[in-house]
């Protein structure tokens, strides 16, 4: 695990030490006339908004859509989402920074989340995480991070690779996973959760 810097050395939280920039205008609801939004992104967000009684409930799917479009929830991505939803970028930033799967800092497009919560940790999750980091090296397209419980303790230690749950993992699997991701192949087909025979009859038939 990386060492956590102590508070005496300053803030470990990005943003705590930042003042605002007076050269910027106040972040009000972006005007449609001055904020171009890709048509397909607008359509997608509007579709999400139509799903809920209160359109603000669509904030999370809308941000995810913008994240897919831009690679991460950049200020531009947030402004575009805000423009379509008629909200301030601030409102969406509050939502975005709260949730882990919305990236408000530049990050790789390939999301590899290694669970290090209690069950996985007991079965060697931390070692998997280290091995994964090592296998990924410095590839900026890969977003490798440890994650709190992903809800698949039965396959601990596990990871979520672009949403595909795989496990139980050995440290040696990490190199394969990274290679599969880079090549755009299916990840460890024999260790995928959805292909795992389970007690559920329908799931069994499908697998």
């Amino acid at each position: 695990m990386t060492e956590v810097r102590r508070f005496t050395h300053g803030s470990r939280i990005p943003g705590w030490d930042d003042a605002v920039d007076f050269s910027k205008d106040p972040a009000v609801v972006p005007d449609a006339a001055t904020t171009p939004v890709p048509e397909h992104l607008r359509a997608e967000i509007e579709e999400y908004m139509a799903r809920y009684p209160d359109f603000r409930s669509a904030s999370i799917p809308a941000l995810r859509a913008a994240q897919r479009e831009h690679g991460w929830c950049s200020p531009l991505a947030i402004e575009q989402t805000a423009c379509v939803m008629g909200l301030t970028p601030g409102y969406l930033t509050a939502v975005g920074t709260f949730y882990d799967m919305i990236e408000t800092q530049p990050s790789g497009r390939q999301a590899i989340y290694v669970c290090t919560n209690i069950s996985c940790s007991l079965r060697g999750g931390d070692a998997i995480y280290s091995a994964m980091l090592e296998a990924a090296a410095d590839d900026s397209d890969l977003n490798v991070r440890h994650f709190e419980c992903l809800g698949a303790c039965d396959i601990a230690p596990m990871a979520s690779v672009n949403g595909e749950y795989v496990g139980p993992l050995e440290p040696s699997d990490c190199a394969t996973i990274i290679a599969d991701v880079k090549a755009g192949r299916e990840v460890l087909p024999d260790k995928q959760l959805r292909r795992r025979p389970s007690a559920h009859t329908i799931a069994k038939q499908e697998s």
């Binding site: 003042a19 605002v20 910027k24 005007d31 006339a33 200020p75 509050a94 709260f98």
Partner: protein, 827 residues
């Protein structure tokens, strides 16, 4: 909407029987019997409690866990204990937790001495801490905006500021970023938090995390005094407490008054106090001598003014701005009418309104109060922008919509900041208010040509019908909040008749919580009219004796040489009124221009003969009348700046010199004379007005209001059709909340001075071939305004908007109060 019924219930608090309002929160109920439950995050003004700070935990019998008193509603028979060991232990624990990372910089903290965290630690804390690790340290203070500094070490994450931004002012700019222990108050991507009401968060903050940049390190709470008064910068007349140290105002705080301001202030009201203590302020009389304005003695200035005015007796006009008190207005109208034999005086910039209509509008049955907005079934915002014209009403409307389910309809020319909250937003052509109310009247009555009238207004006929349906079906309590602008111009009478028709169709006079509420152009617009500062009405809306010229006519008469002198009380027509060209000609032609002014504005620099320094509102004594008829007292908080004299005395001196008998020694004596002259003020005394004000409609003397001879519904004449923008564009104007000398000279607010911008719809911009940020020239008949384009999707195609009273290139270069078509081309 009928006010919610308040049922009293009895519950037991610390062994005592207490009666309190059912379903009110325990914290509030406890206050009734002087039991203080400590809170950080709770403030009744913020609406629904969140229970974030856990400071208010109490024991409720029958519930195993401790409950937050801020979010536990009182029920009959509840048994509550705030002093048991369990409660005390939890209070000590919460304080200990909050203090873990709170820095010990109270000696250099602005909040020190008036800090809830200090007080609660002292009152309910354990006195010791087991925390021996280093505290978190961050950069501090950091700027959150040019007005507000943030100190994140001190923040206890109570959410008050964020809740204000999201649920009260609804600007949604201030947020809590990140989660859990990482949470911090911030904005989107380092943008500053600049909004009309932003600095309320400084007053809300229960620790010293948010401090005012202007007040930082200026004083300690124990060496200042608070002095209650009212803010006179706009018609909302918020109640304020001025923080005074060594005869200087250092800060303005809200003085909560539910029926006026609901406890909030706008940033203009909060920071424009700085304008009292700046070098730009005029603090001695000025006299034009050899073409230059030079400081002179009071005697010489008075002598010049008196000789200039008396020489022009019978040929003098007076134009009055909104910061004039009722007493000054009363003296000035006597000076004009009795002393100088000139009936030409006016306080309405847009021209006279028939006396009968003034009386009809003042009818107590037809007048709505500020609180009515909050409890109405429906509110119609008509031809005004509350956030610019009377900012605090904007918050009241938002509160009504958010918390009480008020249905909001907005009918305006320019896109409104309330559109997002409105059930219905309707646009009409600038200056076509008359046609719009006529169309609405026709739609409500079911007779008349709604289609034709809506077309005349440049509005969508379906929307007009929807609006009529919304207003008539919402319920009996409908409040129409309308701007004086509707009644401006030569057809103002017709527009007001239409408005009164709408009011009578909706039966606003018969419902208690319904009515009309006008936002006048001037802060004391209503008081000035009732004190007799109208060309066609004496004090108390009485017959004027001799009818005089209204504001535009005074300008025209000066330009034509029919009037030779003019008295400008707190206004600069060149800057403030329509038709800059006319007023420039008028004032340059006048031989004597006497002005009362706080700051040198362009028209005064150019044309004034004598300028008397105006008192700052903190120096002034007198009364103001709120748009809903509440008479409020203005109390002096500091002594006059050296060289400034009370303006009522200046007026009295001139009155005396003009041959009037003046027996007044104090402002209350003038008030007495005013009350004697205004029949419907007859029951008012300064004692009864006190610190909270009093609505004259609630006194028995309200019956003395002269009644209108003619009643709604009136027979309306066909309104002129809105101009068709074929190729050229309709010109609309607005006045920003930040327009005005006080903002321009206050160091803290200077960054907000409005610059001219041309608001265009994307379609028009495309047709003209310009984009966002390009410079364009807006022209009318040879006159031009040159400014940058701001594209706004919500601007109706065919219309262009310019700001009034900007630092340069103001809209009144092009306007004369009538609808106009202008050309826009790339500059």
């Amino acid at each position: 909407m009928p006010r919610p019924e308040q049922k009293m219930v009895t519950f037991t608090l610390d062994g005592r029987e207490v009666s309190a309002i059912e379903n009110s929160m325990l914290v509030d109920g406890a206050k009734c019997v002087d039991v203080e439950i400590p809170v950080f995050c709770y403030d009744a003004k913020l609406g629904q409690p969140v229970g974030a700070c856990r400071m208010c935990l109490v024991e409720v019998e029958g519930i195993n866990k401790l409950q937050t008193a801020c979010s536990t509603p009182i029920r009959e028979g509840m048994v509550v204990n705030t002093e048991s060991d369990r409660v005390k232990e939890s209070q000590r624990a919460v304080v200990e937790f909050l203090l873990i990372n709170h820095p010990l910089d109270c000696p250099v903290c602005d909040k020190g001495g008036e800090c809830p965290l200090q007080d609660i630690t002292f009152g309910w804390g354990g006195g010791t801490s087991r925390f021996i690790e280093p505290k978190r340290h961050f950069q501090k203070p950091l700027a959150l905006s040019p007005l507000i500094a943030i100190d994140r070490e001190r923040c206890i994450l109570c959410y008050r500021c964020v809740r204000f931004s999201q649920e009260v002012s609804e600007d949604y700019q201030l947020i809590l970023s990140e989660r859990g222990a990482h949470s911090f108050v911030s904005t989107f991507d380092g943008h500053p938090y600049v909004a009309p009401f932003s600095a309320n968060i400084v007053e809300l903050c229960p620790v010293g995390a948010l401090t005012s940049q202007a007040y930082r390190f200026r004083a300690r709470p124990w060496d200042v005094e608070g002095s209650g008064s009212i803010c006179t910068l706009c018609p909302a007349q918020c109640n304020v407490t001025l923080t005074v140290r060594d005869e200087r105002v250092l800060r303005v705080l809200g003085r909560d008054h539910d029926e006026v301001d609901d406890g909030w202030l706008c940033d203009k009201g909060r920071f424009a106090y700085q304008a009292m203590h700046v070098g730009e302020r005029i603090t001695e009389p000025l006299l034009r001598d050899g073409g230059e304005l030079r400081p002179v003695s009071w005697e010489r200035a008075l002598q010049s003014a008196i000789s200039g005015l008396t020489k022009a007796a019978g040929r003098t006009g007076a134009v009055v701005g909104g910061e004039t008190t009722n007493e000054e207005a009363f003296l000035l109208q006597r000076l004009m009418r009795e002393g100088l034999d000139s009936p030409d005086l006016d306080s309405r910039p847009g021209g006279a309104l028939a006396l009968d209509l003034h009386r009809a509008l003042a009818d107590p049955a037809l007048s709505a109060t500020v609180v009515d907005i909050e409890f109405a079934h429906a509110v119609l915002v008509l031809d005004c922008e509350p956030v610019d014209d009377a900012p605090i009403l904007d918050l009241r409307i938002r509160k009504g919509v958010r918390r009480k389910g008020v249905k909001l309809a907005v009918a305006s020319s320019r896109p409104s900041s309330l559109d997002a909250n409105a059930t219905l937003s309707l646009r009409f052509a600038p200056g076509a208010g008359e046609a719009l109310v006529a169309a609405l009247d026709a739609a409500l009555s079911g007779t008349g040509d709604v289609d034709g009238l809506a077309a005349s207004a440049g509005a969508d006929v379906d929307q007009v019908r929807e609006l009529a349906a919304l207003l008539s079906e919402a319920g009996e309590d409908v409040v129409v909040l309308w701007g004086e602008r509707l009644a401006h111009g030569p057809r103002g009478d017709h527009a007001v008749r239409g408005l009164l028709n709408v009011a009578s169709r909706l039966k606003l006079a018969s419902a208690d919580g319904a009515g009309l509420l006008e936002i006048p152009s001037g802060a004391n617009g209503r008081g000035l009219r009732e004190s007799g500062l109208l060309s066609n009405a004496g004090p108390g809306l009485g017959e004027p004796g001799r009818e005089g010229r209204d504001t535009p006519a005074i300008g025209a008469a000066l330009a034509a040489g029919d009037l030779t002198a003019v008295y400008l009380m707190h206004c600069d027509p060149v800057r403030d009124f329509q038709d800059r060209g006319l007023w420039n000609r008028a004032l340059s032609k006048a031989t004597t221009v006497v002005a009362h002014a706080g700051y040198l504005t362009e028209g005064l620099i150019e044309h004034a003969t004598v300028i008397f320094p105006a008192e700052a509102y903190a120096e002034k004594e007198g009364t103001f009348t709120h748009p809903d008829g509440r008479i409020q007292r203005l109390r002096p908080a500091i002594s006059h700046a050296r060289g400034v004299r009370p303006e009522w005395q200046v007026l009295a001196t001139i009155c005396k010199a003009a041959g009037l008998e003046m027996t007044f020694h104090t402002v209350p004596m003038v008030f007495r004379a005013l009350v004697d002259a205004v029949p419907f003020y007859a029951d008012l005394t300064l004692d009864e007005i006190g610190g909270r004000g009093m609505r004259w409609q609630q006194t028995a003397a309200a019956a003395n209001l002269p009644t209108a001879s003619d009643r709604a519904p009136y027979q309306l004449t066909a309104p002129p059709a809105a101009l068709t923008p074929n190729g050229s564009l309709r010109l609309g104007t607005y006045r920003s909340i930040w327009a005005g000398s006080e903002v321009a000279v206050s160091p803290a607010l200077k960054f907000l001075i409005p610059h001219q911008q041309v608001e265009l719809s994307p379609d028009d911009a495309k047709r003209i071939g310009v984009g966002h940020g390009d410079r364009v020239e807006v022209t009318y008949d040879g006159a031009a305004v040159n400014a940058q384009v701001t594209l706004r999707a919500a601007v109706p195609t065919g219309t262009v908007f310019l700001a009034e009273a900007t630092d340069s290139q103001p809209a009144n270069l092009l306007t004369n109060g009538e609808p106009r078509l202008v050309e826009v081309r790339p500059a």
